[in-house]
């Protein structure tokens, strides 16, 4: 399991990338695992389906991408608060609470 410190650091890194893009005058973007059928692989160790190695880039150049980036940042802030308060939540619950 990932420690909460690790999680915080990795979240911070995503936000930092977006921030750095903006500061350098680039259109902010983020890379994430491709969400399509060919990019799902069975992980033998955990016995579950996981995303594969294919990545896609979401950028703020278009309205959809910008919305997604902004939403991600809000989710990130929520997770940060949860970790700080030592709470846990499901994705569904998160939408209800926030």
């Amino acid at each position: 399991m990932m420690s909460s410190q690790d999680a915080l650091e990795r979240l911070y890194k995503i936000a930092e990338e977006i921030y750095e893009d903006l500061a350098q005058g680039e259109i902010p973007k983020m890379k994430l695992a491709a969400r399509n059928r060919s990019n799902i692989v069975f992980n033998n160790r955990y016995g579950v389906w996981k995303y594969g190695d294919a990545k896609i880039t979401r950028s703020a150049k278009k309205l959809d991408g910008a919305y997604m980036l902004l939403r991600t940042l809000y989710v990130m802030e929520f997770i940060k608060e949860m970790i700080r308060d030592k709470k846990s939540s499901t994705l569904r619950e998160m939408y209800y609470i926030s």
């Binding site: 911070y12 902010p28 150049k61």
Partner: protein
Amino acid sequence: MGFAFKKPHLARIFKGVCVLAIGCAMGIAHRMAKKQREISVAEFFEKNKQILGFDSLTKALVVSVKEAVDNALDACEEAGILPDIFVEIQGVSKDEYRIIVEDNGPGIIRKNIPLVFGKLLYGSRFHAIRQSRGQQGIGISAVVLYGQLTTGKPTRIISKIREEEVAYEVLLTIDTKKNAPRIIKETPKLWDREQGTRVEVTIRARYVRGKQSVYEYLQQTAIVNPHAQITFVEPDGKKTIFKRATDKLPPPTREIKPHPHGIELGELLNMARNTKAYRLTSFLTTEFSRVSPKIAEEICKKAYLYGDMRPQEMSIGEAKRLLEAFKKVKLMAPPTDCLSPIGETLIKKGLKNVLGSLRPSFYAQPVTRAPKVYSGNPFIVEVGLVYGGELPKDQPVKILRFANRVPLLYQQGACVTTKAISSVDWRRYGLEQRGGQGIPVGPAIILVHVASTRVPFTSEAKEAIADVPEIREEIELALKALGRQLRLYNVKKERKSKLSEKFFLVTKILPEIARKSAEIVEKPVPPLEPVISKIMNVVWIDEEITKEDGKTKVKVRVANYTSKAQHFTLYGDYPIGAVIETDGIHEEDYIKWNIDIAPVSYRHLYFVLEDADKYGETNYYVDGINPNIVIGAEPLPGDWNIKLSEIEEILEEEGEEEEIEEEELEEDLEEVMDDE
């Protein structure tokens, strides 16, 4: 004896038979001959009203008004007078209407009044080769004839020329047997006009509004005659004034000689018989246009004729050879100063003036083609298009057809303009059209004007233009040029709506992303300008309208979303109203701003209009900047300067008001001085 007796007897019988036989034969022929006689033109049209367009009661009214108004406009233009035309229709009884048309033209001399109105085929333009509305001299006398035929009432004409003190009032009918006027009463009359003509005809007719009505006819006349002011009073007293949009008369058309390519054999023989020239070569050079002495020699040579021969002695065979020779030599196209196109600017002005209430969102720059020739007759095609606004989206486009500045309301399907419109594939230009053929569907009005010394009408009623390949091709080419403009407009509109999404992105979402990410990484919010310019990379111009106290305030926002500072000139060509306040430079008919704008920054401009209740959209133009990066403004059209000179003249009329204002100001000043 018997023989002697028999002989005269036989002779008598023979004689008798002969007389009988001859009598029989001659009897039929003679009896037929008794019935054979000349038909007067008046009688002919009396029986064949439909040839002149009097086929229904509603149509009779439109045709009658049209003939009278055509005459009025032609008379004014020929005399170089700005036409001021008054049209009134009064209901006399259920099916009877009185048409009154009055103009401020030069008037008609007393002697000619009965002939002009009371004799068919009497006119000034039949023999002249130049562009005019009327031609045969049938029109107005046919109306007089129709009136007397259907109501029995005579026509009243009042006309006054400038040189005389009094006007003459004439009451007349037409003697159809003789095709001559029958004057009922002729009296001098005091008239408070300096000059002009007034016609009052009572006809059997039906008054309607809407499609194919007198109103529509006058409205369309106003579009293509922006120099004319037309006042219309309907039977119920409703008064409409189609205001003058320009003070400039169309340049007078010059009469030209026939071009060899348009001549027929009979015409040629007639001309040769009646010429004063002694030699064939001089006949060719003096009686035809575009024939130089050198070309005349060449024609004679190709026709195997002596240039020295007397043209009066030319035989039919020789004339035929001459015609053939005409085709073999290269001739310049006929001169075109015999034509008077409306011009691109005035078409736009006319359309705006009359259709402004429909608030079309796009006025295409009208297209006037270069003059062309069909069988020796020069012609010019002009087309205009308006699109969008409150025009119905689900109906076929409206077609406004004109020939020599006269609206054509009937027989749309038979007209070359309709055929040309139907054969263009409008789908690629953004209008719906089933199968790429037929009249397209969409919120558009298409205007087509054909001007020629001889418009090839399909009938005497002048309702449709015949399908001449040369004319059709010109119309199609002009329509396609308009179509390209329409497509460009639609592409730009789409681009603008896509960019307005981005506009929301850079003004709302992006700052939020920046704020949020800065909060998480606990750093100051970074400057966003470079990112914004990367996402947008355009100069954005849009307007926001607020209305209060009858004033229209237009705020113009200019946003430079590029990474460079921009310097350019912005022109605002507002549709209607008068500018009372602006932060730009107010020129005669538009507003100009010199803009200097830093990268990713905004500028707010404004102007306030008065009398602009029907304000649509202002056309914005830019100059001194790459127009591809500008959204919301077009590049300055190439004819902008030409437009300016014309606008200056147009404004002379409005200048009167300004002068009054100046006088008022002076009075005010005097008052102030007096007070002091």
